[in-house]
């Protein structure tokens, strides 16, 4: 065993980049409430607004469209509840919310809450075996009664299996945005996993609201943003000073926001190189693991585009999600952890009780298959040596986990 930790859980959170640490720590030493009128306040306000502009520039939107929040979960809550309430207030018939079966819990649990408490009719649309939304099912559902749809929310990239969703048009027709636009229905997308990994341009995407968070792109934990078009009505969730366009209140977290902006800017600037470098490491990882454990199965979309006829990449470059038949994912995770190798079962935990992943179940896997999987997610600090450490350890660990069986 080596004493160096092999961190392969970047989709959970990734280390802060030096530029973000620098921007944040510089600001931590300063005094000033961005809402104050004096010089210290004006200085803080300037940092806040410059950060907003940097994010707007990087994300392809106007500064006024950036609403700072505490992170991805709050952004998702604000988008879903805020837009639902506004749309329903404008027309009480609009009670349907359409989404996919593979969303993050920040979306799913908000939707369940709206269904339980606010009379929303939530429809979670099916995905194919790679975890990609069946767009034709969405079209059918929308066209069944477009006037009753309050909003559509589909993630940009899945956090567990890394599958990219057809949010924005590849050919201009078969996309969530195209279907929604035909009926004037607003679209929200949770792009928390996508920023810096694949090109994301808010204006060009045609989406009306987009969630992002700091700590998945090398910024700090506890800060994020909801990008929302000026025209989109969003009812506030958190009331108070109205600091963020009256949509979100709370003293502006200047230091965290400065770090967040630096991280987003860098991540977007380096996206292409990052995707190439991390993608190559990910391919090395998958290749090595499949050689060590020949019956392991890669879940989600293929690593590379299908070919010249279909040149579209459908998977996050840093994601490797694999099933190890006959293993309990938890056992395997524990054994790897004991070797200093950190990964995730990618499953939701309540009280730390592992549940079979709703994403894998939606992809048509059985409970047993779903429980036999692990997510390895790579990031900007991942090295070849780390990947090789995993490849070396995985065979014996799988053997041992298999002996422990699918004990339930």
């Amino acid at each position: 065993m080596s004493d160096r930790t092999v961190y392969l859980d970047h989709a959970a959170t990734t280390p802060m980049v030096p530029a973000a640490i620098e921007a944040m720590t510089a600001e931590l030493a300063q005094v000033g409430n961005a809402s104050s009128l004096h010089a210290s306040g004006r200085r803080a306000r300037r940092v806040l607004e410059e950060s907003r502009e940097r994010i707007a520039q990087a994300m392809g939107c106007r500064p006024g469209e950036v609403v700072f929040t505490s992170g991805g979960t709050e952004s998702d809550n604000l988008a879903l509840k805020g837009v639902y309430w506004s749309r329903r207030a404008a027309d009480p018939r609009r009670v349907r919310i359409l989404s996919s079966a593979v969303e993050h819990h920040a979306v799913l649990d908000s939707l369940h809450w709206l269904a339980d408490r606010e009379g929303a009719e939530v429809e979670l649309l099916p995905v194919d075996a790679t975890g990609r939304l069946r767009v034709e099912a969405l079209r059918e559902t929308v066209e069944h009664d477009p006037g009753s749809v309050a909003l559509i929310s589909v993630m940009w990239a899945n956090n567990e299996v890394g599958t990219l969703q057809p949010v924005t048009g590849e050919d201009g027709v078969d996309s969530v945005v195209a279907i929604a636009a035909a009926h004037g229905i607003p679209v929200h997308t949770d792009a928390v996993q996508a920023i810096g990994a694949v090109p994301v341009d808010f204006a060009a995407s045609g989406a009306d609201a987009l969630s992002l968070t700091g700590h998945k792109v090398g910024g700090p934990i506890g800060v994020g943003a909801l990008l929302c078009r000026r025209e989109l009505e969003v009812t506030a969730l958190v009331h108070g000073g109205g600091q963020e366009r009256d949509i979100r209140s709370g003293t502006s977290a200047t230091a965290a926001i400065a770090g967040f902006a630096a991280a987003v800017e860098l991540a977007v600037k380096q996206q292409a190189e990052y995707a190439a470098a991390v993608g190559a490491l990910r391919d090395r990882l998958v290749d090595g693991v499949l050689r060590a454990v020949p019956d392991a199965v890669l879940n989600g979309a293929p690593l590379q585009p299908a070919g010249p006829e279909d040149p579209t990449l459908r998977r996050l470059p840093g994601n490797a999600h694999l099933s190890f038949p006959g293993c309990e994912g938890d056992s395997l995770l524990m054994l790897l952890d004991a070797h200093g190798i950190e990964c995730s079962t990618g499953a939701a935990c309540s009280a730390g009780v592992p549940q079979a992943s709703h994403v894998l179940l939606a992809m048509g896997q059985s409970e047993e298959e779903a429980r036999s999987s692990l997510r390895f997610s790579l990031g900007h600090t991942t090295t070849e040596a780390e990947v090789d450490r995993l490849v070396e350890a995985i065979g014996p660990c799988v053997e041992r986990a298999r002996a422990a069986g699918l004990s339930r």
């Binding site: 938890d330 524990m334 309540s350 009280a351 730390g352 009780v353 041992r400 986990a401 422990a404 339930r408």
Partner: protein
């Protein structure tokens, strides 16, 4: 690690003894959130968090293992069907036999661990014959060797009970010294999956239509009906409270449940002295060491019949498929389904599940 003080100190001691220790909390409820408000058992979210914090402080890795299905099938279902059959099971023994020292142990061994350590108050000693012996704890009031009486030599060989040599108050003090926040957490007493401690209510809800009878008569020993009840599962042999009989006994003395007949639903009540039994038949024997042959007797041979009951001097005869136990003095309120754990001095010899009881001196009841 249940989230209580005992398993936390046991883990700390095991680590200090030089073992490579990993903390495991068992998720035993299929829906942990449902127990959120009844934080008395061992399967609430708060308990999992307490266990996790204890592991942090001790400095060991920590995981939650989901054994809810195994627990439901092997322990909860058994508890229900035993009550439905008019017997009185002890689910803690069952859990030790099937879950903690079976499912958990098997998985641990396969994953490369050597033993399961728990916070039970009992001690292990190396016997003269090379076998591992299970003995009572030094803290007689906290002794838990009874609920471990189902463990076989193979299970005992892979067990550690680091608390057996210490009285409970000292364990609490040690927890406080070690900075464990669970130091003054109250002990759990009730059955962990019956959150509010109301066994009869829990059984009524869970058994529903599966109860063999929806009600029946409460009769005296002459067969005269004294009242009605809603289901035999609410009764246990020796029970005095909750009979809800309209009129007192002619002699004015309290009445106790003497017999439960699950098929007809008849519950027979009578005076305390009719509860006395001194002959027990035990089935499903499990031996801590080599199975005894013939008859086991002597001044130190005794049986314990409940988790917190006293010892009864006894003579034990191994018969085909079980044991016959003769008590020197009669015991009261002994129900089929209870475990008889056999001791020779402080050493656990083994256990059997009581299948029948009778009073030799006054004839078969």
């Amino acid at each position: 690690m249940s989230g209580g003080v005992d398993s936390a100190v046991a883990a700390a001691r095991a680590k200090e003894a030089g073992h490579d220790v990993t903390g495991v909390h068992l998720a035993l409820s299929r829906n942990p959130a449902s127990y959120r408000t009844g934080a008395r058992g061992c399967c609430t979210i708060e308990d999992a968090n307490d266990a996790r914090r204890a592991a942090d402080v001790i400095g060991i890795p920590f995981y939650v293992w989901d054994l809810s299905e195994r627990f439901h099938d092997d322990v909860v279902e058994d508890f229900m069907s035993e009550y439905a059959a008019g017997r009185t099971p002890n689910p803690c023994l069952r859990c030790n036999e099937r879950i903690k020292f079976a499912a958990v142990l098997d998985r641990a061994l396969a994953l490369g661990f050597d033993a399961v350590a728990t916070g039970h108050y009992a001690t292990l000693r190396e016997g003269a014959d090379g076998l591992v012996e299970l003995h009572r704890s030094v803290d007689a009031a906290k002794d838990q060797s009874y609920v471990l009486g189902v463990l076989t030599q193979e299970q005992l060989r892979h067990s550690l009970f680091p608390l057996g040599d210490t009285p409970k108050p000292q364990v609490r003090a040690e927890a406080a010294e070690r900075g464990l926040l669970v130091a003054d957490k109250p002990d759990s007493h009730d059955i962990c999956f019956v959150a509010d401690g109301d066994n009869a209510g829990w059984l009524r809800e869970k058994l529903g239509d599966r109860a063999p009878n929806s009600g029946g008569a409460i009769v005296d020993e002459s067969g005269e009906e004294l009242g009605r009840h809603e289901g035999t599962y609410a009764f246990t042999i020796g029970q005095r409270r909750g009979l809800r009989l309209g009129r007192p006994a002619p002699d004015g003395r309290p009445r106790f449940v003497l017999d439960i007949e699950p098929v007809s639903g008849t519950v027979t009540v009578g005076p305390r002295e009719h509860l006395a039994v001194d002959r027990l038949t035990g089935i499903r024997p499990r031996w801590a060491g080599a199975a005894p042959e013939g008859t086991l007797e002597g001044p130190d041979v005794a049986v314990q019949l409940r988790a917190h009951g006293g010892e009864h001097r006894a003579r034990l005869t191994v018969v085909d498929g079980g044991v016959e136990i003769e008590l020197v003095d009669p015991a009261y309120g002994i129900a089929p389904g209870q475990a008889a754990v056999v001791y020779d001095g402080s050493r656990v010899v083994g256990s059997a599940t009581i299948s029948a009881t009778r009073r030799a001196a006054v004839g078969v009841r």
